[in-house]
């Protein structure tokens, strides 16, 4: 647990610092897909959610569904965003499909959040009884 906390903290700080420096030095990055930023943020969150899964082993499943949703969404969307610049430059006719896919992923993600909320509220009702 302690090691995990330290990893999460140092990774977050370094990531934010690096990104801050990057954006300060190159303001043009604001107007296009910054592949490095997409990759590093998603990857860190994926690692964090895996930490959570690891901690949940043999334990009560707290925030299990939200975590699953985050993983599914990030695995999909990262690839989509990484190809964002490419799609924009290629000027493909059917590039809207890509963003439709992303939208579907978001809906799935929201669905997982909804499941989590349902489960938690049901559980709370039981606690009150």
């Amino acid at each position: 647990m302690k090691v995990q906390r330290r990893i999460v903290r140092t990774c977050l700080m370094t990531c934010l610092c690096v990104l801050g420096i990057q954006y300060l030095t190159d303001k043009a990055l604001f107007f296009r897909f910054n592949l490095f930023e997409i990759f590093i943020t998603s990857y860190l969150i994926i690692i964090y959610s895996m930490f959570h899964f690891y901690n949940l082993l043999n334990k009560e499943k707290r925030y299990y569904y939200i975590n699953t949703g985050i993983l599914v969404y990030l695995f999909g969307s990262t690839v989509l965003f990484l190809s964002g610049n490419l799609i924009n430059t290629l000027q493909l006719e059917s590039r809207n499909v890509v963003w439709l896919l992303n939208a579907t992923l978001v809906v799935i993600y929201q669905l997982f959040i909804f499941i989590e909320w349902r489960k938690r509220s049901l559980k709370k009702d039981e606690d009150y009884e």
Binding site: L35, M50, F53, L57, L82
Partner: protein
């Protein structure tokens, strides 16, 4: 590299980043699988350790009860039999003495006869306590019935309900009957001694899943979360006997609300 147009650079960087992302994600997943396996195995080991520990405690309890029982038997033999036999030996010795008047002889013989009777009676009681002969001769149903009748006295009422009588225990091997008897004996003993119960109900039922024994008293009960009481010698003894019956034991109790024990075997 300089002669590449921006489009190519975009393509290459997108491909490279996607590739790197995939590889790193897979590495992360592999790490995750590796560590979770490790964690699960460790947890399983801990569970096994706990089980072994529990078994050890059970064994210790068994040995302790055995020693206690031996101590009790030794005490019974010493108090009830050895001392009386001593008296008999002394009296017999007196008989060998010369010049005894017939009155004295008669008195001594009378002494010997009464003491022998007492010894006989106590040896019978001791044997009876160790293994009730009724269990062998008339079966478990009669033995439980007798146990309840013997234990109830005055304000203490023990009710025994068993509709199908001895047939309840048909499917259980005869060697196991003693365990059931001992469990009930121990429970009644606990209820009367620690729980100060005045009403005890024992109900046996049978269905396709086996026999159910429900034991209820109105004694002081105890907190089942209090591990000290649950881990007492008596409880451990009951647990190990239920385990020998391959049954399931459930103890429900609250302070001042008596105790309810169900055994399924």
């Amino acid at each position: 590299m300089n002669n590449l147009n921006p489009k190519d650079i975009e393509i290459i960087s997108a491909v490279l980043y996607t590739f790197a992302a995939f590889v790193l994600m897979i590495i992360a997943v592999l790490f995750f699988v590796y560590y979770s396996r490790k964690k699960i195995i460790q947890k399983e080991l801990e569970k096994k350790d706990l089980e072994i520990d529990y078994q050890k405690k059970l064994l210790q309890a068994t040995i302790l009860t055995q020693e206690k029982e031996r101590e009790r038997i030794a005490q019974d033999l010493h108090d009830d039999i050895s001392s009386k036999l001593n008296i008999i030996a002394l009296n017999s010795h007196l008989l060998t003495a010369a010049d005894l008047s017939p009155v004295e002889v008669q008195e001594i013989t009378g002494n010997i006869i009464t003491t022998t009777g007492i010894v006989l009676e106590s040896s019978r009681t001791i044997a009876h306590n160790l293994l009730p002969p009724i269990l062998d001769k008339f079966g478990l149903h009669a033995a439980i019935d007798e146990l309840c009748q013997q234990s109830s006295s005055g304000a203490i009422k023990i009710e025994y309900n068993n509709e199908i009588k001895q047939r309840t225990f048909d499917r259980i091997p005869v060697e196991q009957h003693l365990h059931i008897f001992r469990i009930l004996q121990e429970l009644i003993n606990n209820s009367l001694r620690h729980g100060k119960a005045t009403r005890i109900t024992i109900v046996f039922t049978k269905d396709n899943n086996g026999c159910y024994c429900s034991y209820t008293d109105n004694g002081s009960g105890f907190d089942t979360k209090n591990t000290k009481k649950m881990a007492g010698l008596g409880m451990k003894n009951i647990e190990s006997r239920v385990a020998m019956l391959e049954g399931k034991l459930r103890v429900e109790s609250e302070i001042n609300k008596g105790i309810h024990v169900t055994i399924n075997f």
